[in-house]
């Protein structure tokens, strides 16, 4: 049973890292390519073909798929706090790449988020609710 837990934990960490980084960089690239305003419905479509926006969308597709895989075994109430470390990385990326200011208040908030993530991810097993039935075709 402890071997099963160790296997799930490693797999969970790998997918959590992919989920977090695809989300942070997806958002960053979207913002980078976004014009100052989207006026007509057509502009919502044409903006998708802007290179930075397209790269952002591609990363958000990776985010969606990896998050779906992660949620196939891990609880939502586990995935939410663990992947919220992305809020920290968005702030850091904003400082480094977009030259935004990070105030003391903001650093305090970042510290609280990191503490919350450590509490949830360090202590608990990712899965508590068990599936009612499994569908064939998902794996061996």
């Amino acid at each position: 049973m402890s071997h099963e837990h160790a296997r799930l934990r490693v797999k969970t960490w790998i997918f959590a890292v992919v989920v977090v980084f695809s989300n942070v960089f997806g958002n960053l690239f979207l913002k980078r390519g976004m014009p100052p305003a989207l006026a007509t419905p057509l502009e919502y479509i044409t903006v998708l073909f802007h290179p930075w926006v397209a790269l952002g969308v591609l990363l958000l597709i990776v985010w969606l798929m990896s998050r779906m895989a992660l949620l196939s075994w891990a609880d939502l109430s586990y995935v939410l706090p663990v992947t919220s470390v992305g809020y920290v990385l968005v702030a850091v990326a904003g400082k480094v790449l977009l030259n935004e200011q990070i105030t003391v208040k903001r650093w305090t908030g970042i510290g609280l988020i990191v503490a919350g993530v450590a509490l949830v991810s360090g202590g608990s097993v990712p899965q508590t609710a068990h599936p009612k039935h499994k569908t064939a075709g998902a794996g061996p």
Binding site: N27, L28, L30, K31, M34, P35, P36, A37, L38, Y44, V47, L60, L64, R67, M68, A69, L71, S72, W73, D75, L76, S77, Y78, V79, L80, P81, S84, Y87, V90, A91, G94, L98, E100, K105, R106, T108, G109, I110, G111, L112, I113, V114, A115, G116, V117, L119, V120, G123, S124, T128, A129, P131, K132, H133, K134, T135, G137, A138, G139, P140
Partner: protein, 120 residues
């Protein structure tokens, strides 16, 4: 305009992510990551009503988010939509029937305080 967009994003994201979790939980753990197996899993998931509804809700959320990013800073847009975090943790307990123990509530509370500090 920006608060209307945030309202749409929060409602659609919360619905989408809870439906996504419900759909994936019904599907069961994905263990095989070879390309063929992933293709088969996607084919199964494409007929999963929860996953279909989740993708539709997240598409609404995505276009509202594009509109928000055009008029607002990234450092405003991302934390402002973090209220979904609170709603989803509550729904995880009452709709998905997860056992949200004191450690998860404590962690969730810390994250909420942190997000409030970052965004306000």
């Amino acid at each position: 305009m920006r608060w209307l967009l945030i309202g749409i994003i929060v409602a659609a994201t919360t619905a989408g992510e809870v439906l996504q979790a419900a759909g994936m939980r019904r599907h069961g753990e994905i263990r095989d990551f070879r390309p063929g197996a992933i293709g088969r899993a996607l084919a199964v998931l494409a007929r999963n009503r929860f996953v279909i509804a989740a993708v539709a809700a997240m598409a609404v959320s995505f276009f509202a988010y594009l509109g928000l990013l055009a008029i607002a800073d990234l450092s405003f847009a991302v934390p402002a939509t973090a209220i979904t975090y609170v709603l989803e943790t509550v729904l995880a307990k009452y709709v998905l029937k997860e056992h949200v123990n004191w450690l998860r509530w404590a962690g969730a509370s810390l994250v909420i305080c942190g997000v409030a500090l970052v965004s306000l």
